[in-house]
Amino acid sequence: MDQANSLPDKKMVASRIEDLPIRVVSPKVGVFARIQNIWTFRELLVSMVRKELRIKYKNSVLGFLWSLLNPALYLVIYYIVFQKILKNNMPLFAIFLLCGLLVWNFFSNALSSATTTIINNAGIVKKVAFPREILALASVGAALIFFLLQACVLVLALAIFQVIPAFGYLWLVPFALLALVLFASSLAIALSAINVYLRDTQHLMELVLLAWFWATPIVYPFQELGVRLAQKGLLFLYFFNPVTVIVLTFQRALYAKLSYLNNGKAIPLLPGYSPGWFALQLLIVVLVSAVLFIGALMLFSRLEGNFAEEL
């Protein structure tokens, strides 16, 4: 021991002690501390997202091209089925569909992979200490990267079909994306924790996502249902679904057609709200998502304590 005392290293360590960060392990971790913790481990988040992407297309020749082929194929199939076979007169239906579908793909990919992420990563959850929310957030992050890749297909399609976006609404798109990421993240964190205790969640989510998909105006235009709901004074029900307003923003800004003429009759597609209305709606979604996010962290904090035994 005496010998060790005389080593310079030991003194060096001793002088640093006061400056060292203190980690407190206690039953309750506050939400602020959790967020701070996630920030400290932001590099891990990046690494985890990169890992997800690498693994998905490891050993495949086309790699990332696969994720581009998916929306491209949708574009072609919907064009043939709806426009050529079913003679749907809606102009550029495939582009309309793609606007909503990209948003939905992100949302459903993020949630379904986040739901099982803690179980799938049981090995590290049981053996390594790190903020476990990172796993759920990495699912969202990976889905976001795929979304951005697929958005390239959409941009390309817009250029090919010479669709002119609504420039007055374009600035809302990143805002809508932010709202979407925040909303998806809070659900992802909550679902990832719940599924550890209740494995039914992952199967339930498949059904919920299917119903949710059709409750959102992706395949059919908003006004199809909106007009009828408005007549009964139930339009607000439509907006209980935060994804509706996000999808609507994408469609309004990029597809940008409010109605079209069919045999001399005007068929409404999208509502004629002003950019300000959209901004307000999105702001509400962001605020609600922020509250949900804090709630999800609190739930996660409660459930996390026994992850290691439950897995």
């Binding site: 360590v13 001793a14 890992k51 200490a129």
Partner: protein, 419 residues
């Protein structure tokens, strides 16, 4: 100077499920029945670990020592209480936990380091050290799934020790790997000790605890039941095993004490009462050949005398002996059953002697441990240590550890001794 780790009244509550219901249907069906027992894996544990100290946590299986380590590592959260840990912690609960088989060794180093909270920049600086230590060299860009288990373990250890931790938490991992790797691990642990880093060490093996730890805590049923230097803690542990009955402590004692390797139940008609005990009294050594010298020369006879007392005249007793070197490594161990001897019938008091006709070591300082176990129900009655019991001083004929007597034969003819 503040402590490195302050453990403040930690309790951890577990639910022990008889059957685990994780689906909704099962939960609804079994809504009113509680399919679990409640138990406390840790109960009101408090202690501090000082800077530069190596502290062992010992106890039988299920004593809570691994749970405690996981709480310190922040993998489990305690039910109540608080742990304050200063500085960067590297927990080695499983080497290579978090490695992804599809990724290359290089990618896994970065991922694993990120899991331990180390930035990419820091890993860049240490990357070569990590690869050197892992001895993977050209294989570092291969996918980890093609690695052998040895390569996997080496890489895991290399990352964990090269992230510059202030505190290292080790759970039994040093017990894996080949001998060469184990030596490397122990060297690294010693290096850490010299650099004044703090280590918390969980082990089943008294040998390793004795060798590595400055201090140790003994846990039993989630409580701290003893504390002391490594040898002290080990004898407290043995005492607890002797007192405690039940399967868990028995299994642990079998795996921990090679000398108390126990025979199948010998004689069913003999009875063993729960209060029966055979206690080790005085352990003394005698040197029949060199009575005055106070030490042995290689090959001398040795006698180990043990006085004992029993609660009543008991039959079916086994006696075991172990010799340890100065580092705490077991050099010899056996018991009367392994030697093929009949179980002993002991009176309430008496003396035993192990007589060694020749001690075939060349040099060193040795300690002796003696214990009694029951041949009937495998219980350990008592186990005691005698530190630094005897010394062997080389006679100059050889160096090293063992006393061997080689003969030299030149072209089929024995080389004669000097006249």
């Amino acid at each position: 100077m503040p402590a490195a780790i302050e453990i403040d009244d930690i309790s951890k509550h577990f639910r022990l499920y008889h059957e685990k219901y994780t689906s909704l249907k099962e939960r609804v069906i079994h809504l009113n029945k509680l399919p679990y027992d409640e138990f406390w894996a840790l109960k009101n544990v408090s202690f501090d670990v000082n800077w530069g100290e190596t502290v062992g946590l010992v106890g039988h299986n299920g004593s809570g020592k691994s749970t405690l380590l996981k709480c310190i590592a922040a993998i489990l959260k305690p039910t109540s209480g608080e742990i304050r840990v200063r500085g960067r912690v590297a927990a080695m609960l499983e080497l290579g936990a978090g490695f992804h088989p599809e990724l290359s060794g290089r990618e896994n180093i970065y991922l694993n380091a990120a899991l331990l909270g180390v930035s990419k920049k820091d890993v860049d600086l240490r990357f070569d050290d990590i690869v050197d230590f892992s001895e993977l060299g050209p294989f570092i860009d291969n996918q980890v799934r093609y690695y052998s288990s040895g390569m996997y373990t080496r890489l895991g250890f290399a990352v964990a020790v090269n992230v510059d931790p202030d505190i290292l938490l080790v759970d039994e991992v040093l017990a894996v790997g080949d001998e060469n790797f184990q030596r490397k691990c122990f060297d690294k642990v010693e290096e850490f000790q010299e650099e004044g880093r703090t280590i918390v060490f969980v082990s089943h093996s008294p040998d390793i605890v004795r060798r590595v730890c400055d201090r140790a805590y003994v846990l039993d049923h989630g409580k701290i039941v003893g504390e002391g230097t490594a040898p002290e803690a080990i004898s407290i542990l043995r005492e607890f095993q002797a007192r405690g009955s039940g399967l868990a402590s028995m299994i642990a004692s079998i795996s921990e004490d090679p000398a108390s390797h126990l025979a199948p139940v010998a004689a069913q008609e003999e009875i063993s009462l729960p209060n029966d005990r055979v206690m080790v009294g005085q352990i003394s050594v005698a040197f029949p050949a060199t009575a005055g010298a106070g030490h042995l020369t290689p090959g001398d006879p040795l006698a180990v005398k043990v006085s004992y007392s029993a609660t009543r005249p008991i039959s079916g007793v086994l006696v075991g002996i172990q010799l340890f070197d100065q580092k705490g490594d077991l050099v010899f161990g056996t018991d009367s059953d392994l030697l093929g001897l009949e179980p002993l019938d002991v009176d309430s008091e008496g003396e035993l002697e192990f007589s060694f006709p020749s001690v075939a070591v060349s040099d060193g300082l040795f300690s002796v441990a003696v214990g009694f176990t029951s041949a009937i129900d495998q219980r350990i009655y008592d186990w005691q240590n005698q530190e630094l019991a005897f010394k062997v001083i080389s006679n100059g004929k050889s160096s090293g550890y063992l006393k061997l007597e080689p003969r030299l034969i030149l072209n089929g003819e024995a080389v004669p001794f000097k006249s």
